[in-house]
Amino acid sequence: MSGWANISQVKEKITQGSAEDITTSYLKRIKKSKINAYTTVWEGAAEKAREIDEQGHNGSLAGIPIAIKDNISTKGISTTCSSKILQGYVPPYDAHVIERLKDAGAIILGKTNMDEFAMGTSTESSCYGPTLNPWDMERVSGGSSGGSAAAVAAGEAPIALGSDTGGSVRCPAAFCGVVGLKPTYGTISRYGLISYASSLEQIGPLATCVADIAALMDVIGGYDARDSTSVKTETVYKDALVDNVSDLKIGVPAEYFGAGIDPAVESAVWDAIQLFEELGASWEQVSLPHTPYALAACYIIAMSEASSNLARFDGTRYGYRKEGENWHVMASRTRAEGFGAEVKRRILLGTYALSAGYHDKYYLKALRVRTLVKRDFDLALKEFDCLMTPTMPVPAFKLGEKVDDPLALYLADVNTVPINLAGVPSISLPCGYTDGLPIGLQIIGKHFDEATVLRAAYSFEQNTEHHTRRPVEVV
């Protein structure tokens, strides 16, 4: 079979055949793949699918295969964050989202490649090597959830989970031409998500269409007592799938079309906004004046939290260990050999930012900027139902192009990080192509108003063909 299918198409195939057949065909496709989307393929997947067949397909995702980013804990399945330091670590417990997926009958195909500990924009910092972009295998898949986005784009999974700390779902979604949602902070339990920057990140779904995003959200969203930052919400995401934007007020922040933006990206996004207007929506320019400071603030906060979150990887209890004559030497050697260069850079910068004498100058100042950025969004979203911007200022860049220039890589996140600082929801969906590479439109909503974001995205999808285009190279 051809890999590309959305949930309802897979369901149809299950009724015609079986979940086991579907799962096996996905596994075959993964085996033949050249894009390096998976870090681990779960050998129990086909058997699990047979079980679901025997039990009679109960649950909203019964028999639907799914790819899981390698930083989400899966009981009995290796979970490494694409890092050498977690080699051999097999979690004894499932993340909240995994429990929910299993309850809904979904089949885990395996774990997907990512930037090491989700620190990157290109999936090049993975200890397993980069995931190639299905549209052009000389280009990056985006990051850090590059494996999940590429797997969906290449038909190696109909749906996937990623995580988004500063754009890590939306960036690869844009680069790979799929749909990816970063939900409101607190919407999805982080229990079992290996932390990079706790106060910024959320697990997010990736799929070939908006309807599948809603279907996944209905399964993985909702309150979980094990995550203190989890919030009780009543949203039924499927109900948001309405093709009607006639009352929609769109804000277009000028700051997101700044220097360095690719003209093709800029025009594709304006075309999209024009289409919304044709569908009855109104738009106006709006200013988010603190945007220029968001990137620095976001990185300082993320790195500070990371320096603490990653302290537990010392070789004592699990994962990689390099022996030494005493514990401190062992821990130092383990960390020196176990972490890659980008992770070490961020741990060092974060440690520095929290150090006595620099704490106020960097960390506290970043927190103040965060408050201002959040206020920008609060004010803008009081006036508008949603904001629209390019997800990424450029299409997927070449492998190795920015790998030696960390600052250039950080700058690529300029349109996605402010959203994480504010904690608001944001979706990226295909809105055009340039030289055969997908372009992502970002739609940002109010806190806990995923419904409006999904409605806008769904309406756009219903009135365009962008999401139906597939990369030919990997067929």
Binding site: S199, D227, T229, A311, R312, R317, W327, A331, L354, A356
Partner: protein, 477 residues
Amino acid sequence: MVYENPDGVKIGLEIHVQLNKLNTKLFCGCSTDYHNAEPNTHVCPVCLGLPGSLPVLNRKAVEFALKVGLALNCDIVEQTQFHRKNYYYPDLPKGFQTTQYDFPIAGHGKVIIDGEDGERIIRITRAHMEEDPGKLMHMGSIEKSKGTLINYNRSGMTLIEIVTEPDMRSPKEARRFLDKLRSILEYLDVFNGDLEGAMRVDANVSVMGGDRVEVKNISSHKGVEKAALYEIMRQKNFIRRGDKVVMETRHFDEARGVTLSMRTKEEEHDYRYFPEPDLVPMRVADWVPGVQKTLPELPDAKRDRFMREYRIADMHAKALTSDIKVADFYEHVALRVCPGAAAVWVADILKGELNYRDIGVHAFKVEDMIEIIELVIGNKITERSGVEIIRTILDNGGTPKTIVKEKGLIKVEEDIIIKAVTETLEENPEALQDYLDGKEKSLNFLVGQVMKKTAGRSDAKTTRKMLLERINKLPQK
């Protein structure tokens, strides 16, 4: 009398108290009942710090901490705020300790102790909540250990760290403070001081206005007193030699009774505190009135009430109220027999016998105590027999009734004593004559002889009285 504090001793304490009466740990549902368990059996992804696990604050732990704060007369913070204290150590599974930093749950309190010269106020700087790390077990001594084992059963236990101002002027005052603190904590029913590792103390000691030296991780009240005594002596010798005491951290070697240098101030960690992003603030200001209502009568109040209600001496009231279990025991006894006699029997006699055997008051039945006191007051047995019954129960078991019977402790009937008196006088005419000649000591001899005949069952006072009565009735020679 005013205590002069000739060496200018200042002692401040930092006390880590495990709120071990909680059923579950601070941030997870693991059981706290691990003291007799196999290592690493009371653990879960959260207290093992496994990747992806998240903390959830135990509300009951917050309530317990509030009780402690209020009992120490502290102000309570508006809402809880936790921070991460970052440092690397193998017993710390996350590589940071979740603790409270600039918003401790309680602060600005005070505790009254029996000081060197009467009542003394010890100010409480702050009390904050934090998680306990795991426990390292070195195979052999810490220097020569071939390997180290880690037990994470303790990891995530709720600690409250209580910090005092340097208001104690002697090791004795430091110990008194700790005794008082333990007493209060046990009154609150949040703490069992008998469990291993329940209370660990760091003592900051300075003399003559010099720099303070911190002695870390002392595990007993007696140890604190000894460590402080040693430090004062060491620092005084230092100053006498013309050296300057430098700020440093020292370790107390309990076996040798000495403190040893661990690190100087330059080597202090930078803990890079920042707010714990995985916990949300919990507003506790509104809980305070409710928790205040649940506070039990505390030692000082109970002591005052005992003096007032039972009309017993200050000394007795103090002795009876320092341990909640003894206080409860006493009250049960005092409700049934004369409270004054009960105070003597419980505070002076029973407590002494229990201390001697190093056992708690739970080993003795209230009913037995009442029965013994009634027997003594009813003049059925002597005080000495009463003590003997207590000792026998503690050592061999039994009830007052059976022991009285077995040992024949019931006071003999008066006529038996009279018979013994008659016999004694007949058998010892010389002694009788000596007494009549003015040798007072001879009477004592005669008393002894009578008591010997009654096998000690009649007391000396009665015997003496009866002997004199009989002698006075003798026809004059």
